[in-house]
């Protein structure tokens, strides 16, 4: 099993969800995160005090998938999340040793 983690632009969530669904990914866990990277933030202004907000709101998607699906999943995410502008985000792949479904106690691929 692999854990695929994607950092994406928030407004792309629906598209990515849809794409994952189409390649057969049943479960995803999403967190709201702040991203620092090449993409520039914006300036804020309060009573004359200007300062730069250098983080940007992003979403982090995590999905545990079978090894053979990884390629497909990555492709699906990448296609759905891309806008071509800076800040589109990253996809990371890491290895997962075990997965357990809490409800049933199933383990391994059965648990995903």
């Amino acid at each position: 099993m692999k854990l695929v983690t994607a950092i994406i632009k928030p407004f792309k969530l629906d598209d990515v969800r849809q794409a994952l669904h189409e390649v057969g990914v049943a479960g995803v866990t999403v967190s709201e995160v702040k991203g620092f990277g090449r993409q520039k933030g914006h300036t804020e202004l309060y009573r004359g005090a200007e300062y730069t907000v250098d983080f940007l709101p992003k979403l982090k998607l995590e999905t545990a998938v079978r090894v053979e699906m990884v390629e497909q999943v990555v492709e699906a995410i990448q296609k759905a999340a891309v806008t071509g502008k800076m800040g589109d985000g990253k996809i990371f792949i890491a290895s997962l040793e075990e997965a357990i479904r809490i409800r049933t106690g199933e383990t391994g691929r059965e648990a995903l």
Binding site: F11, D14, H42, E44, L45, Y46, E50, V53
Partner: protein
């Protein structure tokens, strides 16, 4: 041709005379009436800031929360200044031979209004400011139509011109001695002047700006309904100033206006709530507050002339009618009136304006019609409604066209995605951690 049913017109006339110090026929000042009108003025301002701005702010997405509050606040400031410079005169001045249509530019900058100027039994300064609060809330209502996508600069331009070309003249027609008032259209506190006018202008703006990006696909739920409930509650409370204040005195008519306002709001809130409960299986807080506002809108033109049972009926009709307009009708026609200024204010205003012609009849517990029969009065009301709609559609459209050509109406796509708070104002609504 019609009976004057309240003290309002008289007071207004006196108000106009009050502008001409040389003709000083002013009534004596009533401290009681003045006390009430000072309060009523505060209440109507309270309706816009913070009331309406909260009602609206809660309904948008969190990235646009400040933009809506900013728009309401800036409108408040701009309209106040324009009203003082020429708006009051346009609406309540003496237009001479053209008086059926506007009040002219005779006396700008409130010249001649002193501490001693009277308008009926209250100081003219109070009458002027009370009317100013109406000239504030009307444009502010329009914000609901184009929320979440209009440029702040274009918005400001639009509102300034709209006050001048649309609000002030219509206000004059109905309350300032113009042709609609003369013709016996009953509009005690502004069903036509304020609500239909704003609701229709909002729809025009919604159509001209186009739908919000993602409308119909992405969910756009209210981001903080707590704010909207606070706002609706404040609108309700403030509306006592709006309706009972429109009597310009603390008397029996003001008292009855207070009572019917409460009754209609309550009836409409229940009507919307139960309708939704039946149709969808659950009552919602957005529903009940929308219903209350619909009832308040609908009773507005009627509040000086109907009785408690008329108010119950008008409220119930508005609750059901606006529920239908803001849900089924909107879906059917497919426009994106972000916060339903048409579905609630225009629809509620039309229902109220027409039913005013019915329930003001003495036989139905009202205090009298301006025309001889209910059907004649309803026709008169219809003429008031139709001419207001026609005028505001054309004029609002033209103003928007011109502004679009000059500065552009809509923010660019990235700004819309990022949200107006950051893109227009360099601020964020919530920094909770």
């Amino acid at each position: 041709m019609f009976k004057k049913t309240t003290g309002r017109y008289v007071a207004l006339a006196a108000g106009l005379l009050g502008m001409l110090p040389s003709l000083a026929l002013a009534d004596e000042l009533s401290a009681g009436d003045t006390a009430w009108m000072l309060t009523a003025t505060a209440l109507v301002l309270f309706m816009t800031i913070p009331g309406l701005s909260l009602f609206y702010a809660g309904m948008v997405r969190s990235k646009n929360v400040l933009s809506v509050m900013m728009q309401c606040f800036a409108i408040t400031a701009l309209m106040s200044v324009l009203w003082v410079i020429y708006g009051y005169n346009l609406a309540f001045g003496d237009g001479g031979s053209m008086n059926a249509f506007w009040g002219g530019f005779g006396k700008l900058f409130l010249s001649g209004m002193t501490v001693d100027s009277m308008s009926g039994t209250i100081p003219e300064s109070v009458f002027m400011t009370f009317q100013m609060t109406f000239a504030i809330i009307t444009p502010a209502l329009i914000v609901g139509g184009f929320a979440e996508r209009m440029k702040f600069s274009a918005m400001l331009l639009f509102m300034g011109i709209w006050l001048t070309i649309v609000y002030a003249p219509i206000c004059h027609w109905v309350w300032g001695g113009g042709w609609l008032g003369d013709y016996g259209v009953l509009d005690f506190a502004g069903g036509t002047v304020v609500h239909i006018n704003a609701g229709v202008a909002g729809l025009v703006a919604a159509l001209m700006l186009g739908k919000r990006k993602g409308f119909g696909k992405a969910a756009m739920p209210p981001h903080n309904l707590t704010l909207s409930v606070i706002g609706a509650s404040m609108l309700w409370v403030g509306w006592f100033g709006f309706n009972a204040g429109s009597e310009l005195a603390a008397d029996g008519t003001a008292g009855m206006a207070l009572a019917v306002t409460q009754i209609a709001a309550a009836a409409a809130a229940l009507a919307w709530m139960f309708a939704e409960w039946v149709v969808h299986g659950k009552p919602s807080v957005l529903g009940i507050i929308s219903g209350a506002v619909a009832g308040l809108v609908a009773i507005t033109p009627a509040s000086g002339s109907v009785g408690p049972m008329g108010a119950l009926a008008i409220g119930a009709a508005a609750g059901l009618g606006c529920y239908w307009a803001a849900t089924s009708l909107k879906r059917a026609l497919g426009y994106d009136d972000s916060l339903d200024v048409f579905g609630v204010h225009a629809a509620g205003g039309i229902i109220g304006a027409l039913l005013t012609g019915v329930f003001s009849a003495v036989s139905l517990g009202g205090s009298g019609l301006a025309h001889d029969t209910i059907s004649e009065q309803v026709i008169a009301q219809g003429i008031g409604v139709a001419s207001t709609i026609a005028y505001t559609v054309v004029a609002s459209y033209l103003i928007l066209k011109v502004i679009d050509a000059v500065v552009g109406l809509r923010v660019d796509e990235d700004s819309e995605t990022e949200g107006l708070d950051v893109s227009q104002h360099d601020e964020r609504g919530y920094i909770l951690t």
